[in-house]
């Protein structure tokens, strides 16, 4: 059975772009897929350099690829993931994609004419716009998921798991670069009374608003996280004890002066803050020390800042 007649209609109907170049990178053939999308006619462009016919080709890159295929007689590939497109062609889903151009997978194959000496490169161009669009959607969802994974649902500050992980990284950085590092732990004073008086909604509103007030006082590199119910922590990279106490006092004052409105009533709240700073401890020890300082701040009457100090007996032992 004679099959030659198949070739023309197949090439014309094929949902893949076929572009054939000679060893000088001049156009020998392209099929209807390319002709229609690029709005070019084969008979007008045959024999011209591919770079002159198609605008915006990545010329240096394509030249090297084509030369490689010709001299090694081995195929080359390009994926939309690395280079979104080679030929700037429109795609058929203008509504579902925010990209103007067709994402493409391209295979470049070496071809030799029956004479055995004329070499060509055949570029097969496949439309990968669907995959590209799905990938974009996936990335967006992943980014949202990651954000959700590290933030506290109520207050929008970092959650405990993420905050503690970051503290671990900051301790490692402090060790490596010999930077200073400090930690604040603070607690809303008499939060239980607040909840009893205004209900959980009132307590929640206070937590949300104070997170915003305190967040605004911090640097971009400081890490504010919700450690427990009404307990929060701040990691202060490249800050020594003195600096940390300054920041803590600023927070203490700002909270005490802030007037909070809930259901038309003004609430006044205060915080107690414990401060510790890095001197070779582990992340857990830093938290423990700040927690002990926080406990002392509560005991000394609340609405104040206390920095952790080494217990006297340890100090004495070291002196001996």
């Amino acid at each position: 059975m004679q099959l030659d007649w198949l070739l023309q209609p197949l090439l014309a109907q094929l949902n893949t772009g076929v572009l054939v170049l000679n060893d000088q990178h001049q156009i020998v053939f392209f099929n209807q897929f390319i002709a229609r999308r690029a709005d070019k006619r084969l008979e007008h462009t045959q024999g011209q350099l591919v770079y002159d016919v198609f605008d915006d080709l990545p010329r240096a890159w394509l030249q090297r690829k084509l030369d490689g295929v010709l001299s090694l007689q081995a195929p080359a590939f390009s994926s939309w993931e690395q280079r979104q497109y080679i030929l700037k062609l429109p795609h058929l889903r203008p509504l579902s994609s925010d990209s103007l151009y067709m994402a493409q997978n391209c295979t470049m194959l070496p071809l030799t004419a029956p004479d055995g000496v004329s070499h060509y490169v055949c570029m097969l161009i496949e439309d990968a716009t669907d995959a590209y669009v799905y990938q974009l959607q996936l990335q967006q969802s992943m980014a949202q998921l990651e954000l959700a994974n590290r933030t506290d649902g109520l207050t929008g500050v970092y959650n405990r798991r993420y905050w503690q992980q970051q503290l671990g990284y900051e301790v490692a950085r402090a060790v490596r670069y010999q930077h200073s590092l400090a930690l604040l732990l603070f607690d809303l004073d008499k939060f239980k009374q607040l909840n009893d008086q205004y209900g959980h909604q009132g307590g929640d509103a206070v937590l949300v608003e104070l997170s915003a007030v305190i967040g605004a006082l911090l640097r971009d590199t400081d890490l504010l996280g919700r450690y427990g119910g009404e307990e929060f922590g701040v990691v202060l990279p490249e800050t020594d004890l003195q600096g940390a106490v300054l920041v803590a006092n600023r927070i203490c004052k700002a909270v005490a002066e802030h007037q909070l409105l809930f259901n038309g009533q003004t609430l006044n709240v205060t915080v107690s803050i414990g401060v510790s700073s890095y001197k070779g401890q582990t992340a857990d020890e830093l938290i423990q020390q700040a927690d002990m300082a926080l406990y002392n701040a509560k005991r000394q009457g609340r609405n104040r800042v206390v920095a952790w100090q080494e217990p006297a007996e340890v100090y004495l032992k070291q002196v001996k």
Partner: protein, 204 residues
């Protein structure tokens, strides 16, 4: 269970075919890069796929490794997958070799390019020795800067019955780099390959 082991004669035969294929590939590369490629005997080893992750975990301990896979298909049921493993500190050297220093190609693009050049020139040579010809699927990056690379290799290797491990060292006049190439071949293609090797052996 089918036995996919090779006899010493079959192994020797395959080693020689690989050797000749490497010769053809390095000749093409040398002409393309306009320099001499020094080839060492590629040590080929037939290993059980389940041993691969352990082997490479030992070998690439504490180094970031990038894995690039490329599938190939030939006539008579010969098919398989090659995996190239690069250590990232090598990447810059390879890029310089192939003249990638001065444009906007991404690292991923560069690595897939290099892998397809290295593997297809080699596999074309091997196909020639086997009186076959291969077609190729586009290379895929399986992992990059990935700590769980051993797990990925394990899950990839699981689908195959035999792995032919070829350690390649390309050394050029001014640069040198090494990378590992693993040829993974499914069971029925292993049987096919053994038949072809036996035919070659019988003719000598």
């Amino acid at each position: 269970m089918t036995d996919f082991q090779f006899s010493e004669e079959q192994r020797d035969c395959l080693q020689e075919l690989v050797n000749v294929a490497m010769g053809l590939a390095s000749d093409k590369l040398a002409r393309y890069l306009n320099t001499l490629v020094h080839l060492q005997v590629p040590a080929i080893k037939l290993v059980k796929t389940e041993q691969l992750p352990e082997h490479f975990a030992d070998r690439h301990q504490q180094q970031s490794v990038t894995m690039i896979s490329l599938g190939f298909f030939g006539d008579q049921g010969l098919r398989g997958e090659t995996i190239m493993l690069y250590q990232l500190e090598n990447v810059g050297v390879i890029a310089k070799l192939l003249g990638y220093s001065d444009d906007d190609s991404s690292e991923a693009e560069m690595l897939t390019d290099i892998s397809s050049v290295l593997t297809t020139t080699f596999l074309n040579g091997l196909a020639e020795q086997l009186d076959n010809s291969f077609s190729y699927a586009a290379p895929r990056i399986l992992s990059s800067r990935d700590k769980h690379f051993a797990e990925k290799l394990a899950s990839t290797a699981e689908q195959w019955q035999l792995a032919l491990q070829v350690d390649i060292r390309y050394q050029l006049t001014d640069y040198s780099f090494n990378c590992d190439m693993i040829l993974l071949i499914p069971g029925e293609a292993v049987l096919r390959l053994r038949l072809i090797l036996d035919q070659i052996l019988a003719s000598f």
